[in-house]
Amino acid sequence: MAEKPRLKVPKEAKKGEIIEIKTLLAHPMETGLRKDASGKLIPRKIINKFTCEFNGKPVFSADIEPAVAANPYIQFTAKVEESGTFKFTWTDDDGTVTSVDQQIKVA
């Protein structure tokens, strides 16, 4: 049902390499401050939390406010020492958690 998250993560890296990770989730990030055509406030609905773990250990996370643009884009880095799995999660105001895994081979 939900739009698939979009990722740019290298498939391979050298041991100890710092890689760049780009993530995006399609989401309107409704601020809760806008009015519709009839003057009624549109209720807030945003992604409020993003996390990235590698092999179960936290790498990076973000608390997000309505001032982050629609289709929240988060870019950061990770230092990889071994092959493994990145896990990314996005938490919606309504409690929905979207998550996706991505493998990386470290030589």
């Binding site: 049902m1 009015k35 973000a62 982050v68 629609a70 988060i74 950061f76 230092k79």
Partner: protein, 151 residues
Amino acid sequence: MQTITRRRALGLGASAVLVLTVADVTGALATPAETDAEIAKFTGGKTPVQGKIAIDLPEIAENGNTVPLSIVVDHPMTEQSYISDILVVADGNPRPGVAAFHLTPASGKATAATRIRLQTTQNIIVVAKTNSGQLFTDRKQVKVTIGGCGG
């Protein structure tokens, strides 16, 4: 097909609120006191040291709906000493908060980037915290442009 249905719903939503861009939100802008309070919550009231932070933002944004922001803090990322948190606030939006990034030594570099909403011309203030509680800060102004025909 489900995906398409959902995209259509988003598309209609976008056109239905077409003229209600960020410039049309209701309510007053954040006050300097609210902005300071948001920063104080993060710093515990301590005064951050100016510098060490590179904020990449356009000097002028053609619209405030999706302004690219990139932050690099000049600090090592070792188990002993690393940047653990980066706070971003804006002093001209309805509320000052933008995002708080939480980093670890596994981040490798003290950097984060996102795209933000700016209702009007304003300052973006970034405060970075190390694992031992050292604080750094810097700020940058973005001019959000004004359209010609007035809608």
